[in-house]
């Protein structure tokens, strides 16, 4: 056996995932140049087997199920209960509509005249703050263990799902679990209706707001 053949065959056997052919061992015994490579390989394979067996035991079932109960696993499980093809990635039509509505309402709130300020009720404010903190204290530990996105990350860091999560409407992420990217937003908004040729005929969103007094 040539040394190049030895090296090629040694590389072709997956590390720690198969037995090394005896003919390779015979060549390594006769060739001082290849022996080092052979010994390195044996050493690493042995070390990897022992290294993998050193993982401590753990029992996660109770914690995982408890966390899953605190926040239901959304509609994914319910969707899957029905037979049929896997659903397409969640569409953003509803979320977009709600988001646009929320933005319009926020803009309207900013445009409305500011009501006359009253002296703050310090006692009730303090009570509500402490109640809020107490509620956070109850929720935070469990929430911190619960993932925030719906899609699994099994498609890799640069997948389309990652792009969706980093969508332009991250501002309204709390409204829906799925936030589409700009390209999806364009496709959602494009409902096929023709726009008037004259821009004067376009709907002015500000005209929906109440006129300032």
């Amino acid at each position: 056996m040539k040394c190049t053949t030895f090296a090629r065959e040694l590389r072709s056997v997956k590390h720690g995932r198969g037995d090394l052919p005896p003919r390779l061992e015979r060549h390594a015994a006769a060739c001082a140049r290849c022996r080092r490579m052979w010994e390195d390989r044996l050493l690493l394979d042995t070390a990897v087997v022992r290294w993998r067996s050193r993982v401590p035991n753990v029992n996660l079932a109770d914690d995982v199920l408890a966390a899953a109960k605190i926040r239901p696993l959304s509609s994914a499980l319910a969707r899957g209960a029905a037979d049929g093809p896997p659903p397409s990635p969640p569409g953003g039509t509803g979320a977009i509509a709600v988001a646009l509505l929320a933005l319009l309402l926020a803009a309207a709130a900013l445009m409305l005249p500011t009501p006359t300020r009253r002296p703050p009720n310090v006692a009730s404010s303090m009570r509500s703050v402490s109640e809020g903190e107490a509620a956070n204290a109850v929720v935070a530990p469990s929430e911190s263990r619960i993932a925030a996105t719906t899609a699994p990350e099994a498609t890799g860091g640069r997948s389309a799902s990652s792009g969706r999560r980093a969508g332009a409407l991250a501002l309204v992420a709390g409204i829906g679990e799925f936030v589409p990217g700009p390209w999806e937003l364009a496709s959602v908004l494009d409902d096929g209706a023709e726009w008037p040729a004259d821009p004067a005929g376009w709907l002015d969103p500000w005209s929906l707001l109440p006129a300032p007094e």
Binding site: G16, D40, A47, V64, P86, P87, R145, P152, R158
Partner: protein, 192 residues
């Protein structure tokens, strides 16, 4: 009856139907490899437990997207690998990193009683971070170079090169510790 479920597809269908026993079995079946990968990647037990838990919750949420014809374990390990990398990035942005497992600058002199796995873990701690992650994902996560490439955002060829360099560096480190000689004797004894 849930103990009889050996097929991943059946298990997933039961999980999707909201069967709590099936969810428990799902965790128990895969917690070993998932926690093992998290442990090796993060080198911190508490972080590994938290991340493993997060992996299972994400997997439950994405189960309806899993394609029944495909093996379940690599799909789960991909989620775990991505979560671990996110946790590592998050940890690096913290002002003070938590103490890591088994990371002394150099251990006691090697002798036959020293665990070879422990020596390898120590040597891994001195590797370049991307080489270390490559090695762990391949050997502990049992992921292919193509999958590791997708996780790490590099071509499979780069991953193969990194793996090769990691192995060579590890072998060199073990030899510098004088381990080759001892293991050779040990292997010789096993063979004879």
């Amino acid at each position: 009856m849930i103990e009889a479920v050996t097929d991943d597809g059946v298990l997933v269908r039961r999980c999707l139907a909201g069967d709590e026993a099936a969810l428990r079995l799902f965790v128990e079946r895969f917690q070993g490899p998932v926690f093992g990968l998290c442990c090796r990647m993060l080198r911190h037990r508490q972080d590994a437990e938290d991340t493993s838990q997060e992996v299972f919750l994400r997997a439950f949420r994405g189960l309806s997207c899993w394609q029944p014809g495909r093996p379940l374990k690599p799909w789960l390990m991909m989620i775990a690998a991505n979560r671990c990398r996110t946790a590592i990035r998050r940890r690096m942005s913290r002002p003070s990193a938590a103490a890591l497992l088994d990371d002394p600058p150099s251990g006691p002199p090697w002798d036959a009683s020293t665990d070879l796995g422990e020596e390898l873990e120590r040597a891994l701690g001195r590797l370049r971070e991307d080489h270390r992650q490559c090695f762990v994902l391949f050997h502990q996560g049992e992921l292919s170079c193509a999958r590791i490439g997708r996780i790490m955002g590099h071509p499979a060829g780069t991953i193969k090169t990194w793996l090769h360099r990691a192995r060579r560096e590890l072998a060199d480190q073990l030899q510098r510790r004088g381990i080759v000689h001892g293991v050779r004797h040990e292997m010789h004894d096993v063979r004879t």
